[in-house]
């Protein structure tokens, strides 16, 4: 009896159950929202959450802090912009080439810095991020400089997907905004599925061991340098894909996509939502995208309120929102 109950609970709280719930919620979202503005927010949440899910593999699971992850997001977005508008590649080909290029870039920069520990790794990733932002600002011929650069609409299987378009499917009419949301949601679900698969594998165990005890991992046969590099590359590719998509979605990007502030926003999402909690960081992403909407009432005080919320959550729920709430629920149940 007790065992049966435990089993049932296991399925409910198993990560894949969470994925099902997430997919269901995302699929039902259109029933709850009606206007383009809401769809716009939802799309941004899904794309931001995709970056966060990847970054969480690096920071939350493997315990390697990156304060420069927006560089990879920006690199993906700019690579897509440059490849489509200057080299006439189709958006999907550009997106995939960008992801591959960013992966190689992450591998190259990751090799020398990932043996650094603690604050020195933070410093190095931060430095890389700042340098990337400065390069994007200064290389005007390539990037358009501080004014930014435009991107064409995404095209899928020969069909252009523009936020301004209208599309017919099986007798139904979709607006471009709605389709973009569905695309972003699908990308997020796939991103989560891949992340959950990684975590629930020998690779995932090795990554978590890096966080738990690097020494234990080493003597258990884990080539720690190799695994750090791997997860760094994986999380960079997540960021690159989301960056490319965001670029096509918004049609225009500026160097702020790769700024230090954006890197900080990304790491904040992970820590706020809950390190090593894939669903927590999705909540974190939702909060960080939505907070400015709620804070418009405060106008000039927006930064003050945001800073205060950030400090308060981290002080009172140091493990992040979702893990802390789940812990309390569990304690309540016992």
């Amino acid at each position: 009896m007790k065992e049966a109950r435990a089993m049932k609970k296991n399925i409910l709280i198993s990560p894949y159950g969470g994925l099902l719930l997430l997919a269901l919620m995302l699929a039902l979202m259109p029933l709850a929202v009606s206007n383009d503005f809401h769809y716009d927010l939802l799309t941004k949440i899904c794309l931001t959450a995709t970056v966060a899910v990847g970054l969480n593999l690096l920071v939350g699971y493997a315990g390697q802090v990156s304060l420069g992850h927006a560089a990879f997001y920006g690199a993906g977005a700019y690579a897509s912009a440059i490849l489509t508008s200057q080299y006439n590649l189709s958006p999907m080909v550009a997106l995939l080439s960008a992801a591959a290029g960013v992966g190689v870039m992450a591998w190259l920069v990751g090799r020398p810095i990932l043996h650094l520990k603690g604050h020195y790794l933070s410093m190095a990733t931060l430095g890389l991020g700042v340098i990337a932002a400065i390069v994007l600002n200064n290389e005007e011929q390539l990037t358009g400089g501080p004014d930014g650069v435009g991107l064409p609409p995404l095209s899928l299987f020969g069909h252009e997907l523009s936020v301004f378009g209208e599309y017919q499917f099986a007798g139904l009419t979709f607006t471009g905004v709605e389709l973009w949301y569905l695309l972003a949601a699908a990308v997020l679900v796939i991103a989560v599925l891949l992340a959950l698969n990684i975590i629930d594998s020998p690779l995932g165990r090795a990554l978590r061991a890096l966080h738990g005890s690097e020494i234990a991992a080493q003597v258990a046969g884990v080539d720690t340098a190799k695994y750090k590099l791997r997860v760094f590359v994986i999380s960079a590719v997540y960021a690159s894909v989301a960056g490319s998509l965001y670029g096509h979605y918004s049609g225009f990007i500026t160097p702020t996509v790769a700024s230090f502030e954006h890197s900080i926003e990304l790491i904040t999402i992970v820590v706020l939502g809950g390190m090593a909690s894939t669903f927590g960081v999705i909540i974190g992403a939702a909060i960080l995208v939505l907070i400015p909407q709620f804070l418009t009432d405060f106008q000039e005080l927006e930064m003050v309120v945001f800073g205060a919320i950030l400090m308060a959550v981290m002080i009172f729920l140091p493990r992040g929102l979702l893990p802390s709430v789940l812990q309390r629920l569990q304690r309540g149940a016992q």
Binding site: V59, V65, L67, P112, I113, H115, L116, K117, G118, H119, Y120, S122, M123, A124, L126, G127, L128, V130, I131, I134, V135, N138, I215, F260, E261, I264, I267, T268, V271, L272, M275, E300, L301, E302, M303, V304, V305, F306, G307, A308, I309, L310, M311, M314, I315, P318
Partner: protein, 291 residues
């Protein structure tokens, strides 16, 4: 040719002195509490902006300066009391996010109460510049160097001689032992944050007459201070000063001889190069991790 070099060197040292003060603030807090304080740059902003605002309220310059320094020190102590102390056992990344939250909060307050405009302060001396061997030296730079040297010496004396300074050192080295020896470690940590804020504010104040100030100047200055501290090996005061000067000089030479577009990238290129060869900074310990 030589006068140009001399001029770049001089402005580099001036800039370096500022970075050194910020880095010393970082080092102080890092040693005392192992926190990397991302709000450190905001103390510079409070030093500069606070003085500007108080001068605007018709206070004489010296009184305005003292007011701004006091304001920053109080902010530092409150930062520790309200945000760091309650999160004592939190993860390193969590603490980073807390200090980032604090820096956004402080920046937001400054923007709300003091506005978004850029401001300058009058120079401390009536003459603007001196000409030595063809090079033009700003008198304000001399003030910056003089004050920085005084502050560094005062800090060294404080830690070497005073009871309070020694208590901070003892707390840095071993918190539990210090507590057993009757030191109120939380009070001591608060003092460390206060002194660090004071240092930052002083740096922000003396640099304002030549660089302008605004609610958001703290971000870049704070980051560069962090770089300078990391070059020195996070936790070494000598390292912080050397790191600051090194940064200032390389930034000035890059701006002068190469391109000012990439001036802001210089500190980060340097720290990456250094960490590549010395993963614990120039002055960091290289002890084997105990297993």
């Amino acid at each position: 040719m030589f006068s140009e070099f001399f001029q770049f060197t001089f402005s580099g040292i001036t800039l370096g002195a500022i970075y050194a003060l910020v880095a010393l603030g970082f080092t102080l807090i890092y040693n005392a509490s192992h926190v990397i304080n991302f709000a450190q740059g905001e103390f510079l902003m409070i030093g500069g902006m606070g003085t500007v605002v108080l001068v605007g309220a018709d206070l004489p310059l010296p009184a305005a300066m003292v007011g701004a320094l006091v304001l920053a020190t109080v902010a530092g102590i409150l930062l520790h009391r309200l945000a760091i102390a309650p999160a004592r056992d939190a993860d390193v990344v969590t603490l980073i996010i807390i200090t980032i939250g604090a820096s956004i909060f402080l920046r937001g307050l400054a923007q709300f109460f003091w506005g978004k405009e850029y401001h300058a302060l009058p120079r401390f001396s009536a003459t603007e510049s001196l000409s030595i061997g063809g090079a033009t030296l700003l008198t304000q730079s001399l003030w910056i160097l003089g004050i920085a040297v005084v502050l560094v010496v005062a800090l060294a004396l404080f830690f070497g001689r005073s009871r309070l300074g020694k208590a901070i050192l003892a707390t840095s080295m071993n918190k539990d032992a210090a507590r057993l020896a009757g030191i109120k470690t939380q009070v001591i940590l608060g003092v460390a944050f206060g002194i660090s804020a004071l240092l930052g504010a002083a740096a922000g104040l003396i640099v304002t007459p030549i660089t302008f100030t605004a609610y958001d100047v703290g971000i870049m200055l704070g980051l560069k201070g962090f770089v300078a501290a990391a070059i020195g090996g996070l936790g070494s005061s000598t390292g912080a000063v050397v790191g600051g000067l090194l940064l200032g000089l390389s930034e000035a030479y890059t701006a002068g001889y190469i391109s000012s577009d990439y001036k802001d990238a210089v500190p980060f290129v340097i720290i990456l190069a250094i960490l590549f060869f010395l993963p614990n900074g120039l002055f960091g310990s290289r002890a084997a991790e105990r297993v």
